[in-house]
Amino acid sequence: MAAAISVRQVTKSYGEGTAAVHALSRVSLDVAPGEILVMMGPSGSGKTTLLSIMGVILRPTSGVVTVAGREVTSLPERELPGVRLRHIGFVFQGFNLFPALTAAENVAIALDLRGERRPAAMTRARAALEAVDLGDKAQALPANLSGGQKQRVAIARALVGDPTVILADEPTAALDSQSGRLVMDLLTRLAREQQRAVVMVTHDDRTLGYADRIVHIEDGRLREGEAPTTWPEETRSWGFAPARPALAFE
């Protein structure tokens, strides 16, 4: 199966010469449609840099990124927003909802960016909220939603545009265990049903049970053989067994 997103020999450096800082060194990674990949690593290891490069927000110093079969690293700057719009859905740690908009409008704005007319966009947005079990909260402002509900709205917003890849940055970090589980259930179900590739950066061991594959980043490199071989207590406490007990490393 062709990768939904592919990273080949990607390097990212800041500065030049002896003062150069290498955030990523020759990283290669493929994520298939429907696959859930979890990226772990300490702070400053390069996870966010890699996520930004995969999200076509940041250009690598060298290497190639391919999204939905299209090589994007050589595209001119003006075409990159279009790639993000069509192929990437983002889920953020802090939800990043627009506080002035209702839940439905928060979802619809992803379609507004594509130029979709408001009535059609609102219809699709409500359907997306139904899909995350928030149909009754369509008119609610974010301030009136719980953390878990906000993240589900964010997931609906990420999915409403039919992206190829979902990039999730610490999606459960701000949630209690019950909300975190609900969000992970949802993300997993939708990824499987809709064949979205999901790349998730997390420090939250409780999410590991949902991963098809876990990669560990340290000092800008993908490291092999250092992933946990047993699932932590918190994961078991959610009552989920890992989808693939044998961890895959690049």
Binding site: P81, G82, R84, F92, N96, A100, L113
Partner: protein, 372 residues
């Protein structure tokens, strides 16, 4: 959608923005209205004269500074082809002695009683024909208190000569503090100390269809020792003298410009503060794939909405102030052309105030969304 909701979401800031715009627009509207009011006051006597051309002594710079010349020039003027009528006319400062003995400066306007030019207008009490009566004068109702009279029939003195108020006009203001006092040419000569064979101006009426500029040229040729201007030229000369030559108009225009600058600063500051407050949202939009043009549109829409709403409130206030000024000696004029120009100016001002915010989001790094 986002622009309007963002504005309404932060109502305090929106209110501050609107107050700033309203203050700015009202200030500008009132100052520009004052400018128009002053301008009209300076030229009303000229524009309402019903004359097509004015003849005056050489070098006269403004209406109130006329220098006497021989009235015999009137006959020479009447001999020029295209001239239908020519009347002697006097406009000059005089001293009005109120019944209580106090003195006020006035502008004496003397007109030939058998002519059709230079007469008072907008009469609300009495008639122009009443000026045929001995010592008769007509003043504007706005200056009753200043001139110490309350009703027709009251008498005062002008330069030691008796004057009887026979009527009142409405809305004839002067730019100087000296109210217009309309009277016959003979009375005006007495009140201003001008010889009986002299005039300060000749008012000329052209034959129907005559070219005023050509007629002015012909009069200059026939009357080489005086100046001849069309009414339009003389009106512009008078207006420019008082509005720009004295600096009075410039100061009013500067105040109007300051009002607009205050508006730009207030709107720019509040829109910028709102942009900074929502910077993470703009970053999120950029990460999601929004182009800079989309973000600019959101910011400009916020500014434009603020401008339109602020203008709507401000113009109502300005109209009320302008209406209220009609009963005073200083008129604030707010014609629809000024209101329309202010609308364009206000929205333009608000949109231009977005530039700083637009610059902010232009260089916004969407990767910020991954920072906690």
């Amino acid at each position: 959608m986002l622009a309007f909701r963002n504005l309404l979401h932060d109502r305090v800031r929106f209110a501050v923005t609107l107050v700033g715009i309203v203050f700015s627009v009202v200030l500008s509207a009132v100052q520009l209205g004052l400018f128009l009011g002053f301008t009209r006051a300076t030229v009303d006597v000229i524009d309402q004269s019903n004359a097509d051309l004015w003849v005056m002594s050489r070098g006269v710079t403004h209406l109130e500074s006329g220098v006497p010349f021989s009235e015999s020039l009137r006959h020479l003027a009447l001999g020029v082809d295209g001239v239908a009528d020519a009347q002697a006319h006097i406009v000059t400062f005089g001293t009005w002695e109120r019944p209580d003995g106090a003195r006020e400066g006035v502008m004496v306007v003397g007109t030939e009683r058998d002519g059709a030019m230079g007469q008072p207008w907008n009469l609300i009490e009495g008639s122009v024909d009443d000026l045929d009566r001995p010592d008769a004068v007509i003043i504007d109702e706005l200056y009753k208190e200043k001139l110490g009279v309350t009703q027709p029939g009251e008498t005062v003195e002008l330069r030691g000569h008796r004057a009887r108020v026979v009527g009142f006009t409405r809305g004839i203001r002067t730019f100087t503090t000296a109210p217009a006092v309309f009277t016959s040419l003979a009375n005006a000569r007495d009140y201003a100390g001008i010889r009986a064979d002299q005039a300060l101006y000749l008012l000329v009426k052209a034959e129907p269809g005559a070219d005023h500029a050509r007629l002015a040229e012909a009069l200059r040729h026939r009357l080489p020792d005086v100046d001849v201007m069309t009414t339009v030229e003389w009106s512009a000369t008078q207006r420019n003298y008082w509005m720009f030559g004295t600096g009075a108009g410039v100061s009013v225009l500067i105040a109007a410009a300051l009002g607009l600058i205050v508006g730009v600063v207030v709107v720019a500051q509040t829109i910028y503060a709102a942009t900074v407050d929502h910077i993470r949202e703009y970053g999120t939009l950029k990460a999601m794939g929004a182009t800079n043009a989309y973000l600019y549109r959101v910011i400009v829409q916020q500014s434009a909405i603020s401008g339109v709403l602020g203008y709507a409130v401000a113009i109502v206030i300005a109209a009320a102030v302008a209406h209220g000024s009609q009963s005073g000696t200083t008129a604030i004029l707010l014609p629809w052309t000024l209101a329309a120009a202010l609308f364009v100016l206000t929205v333009g001002m608000c949109v231009s105030a977005s530039v700083v915010s637009i610059n902010k989001v232009t260089w916004l790094d969407p990767a910020m969304v991954f920072k906690a």
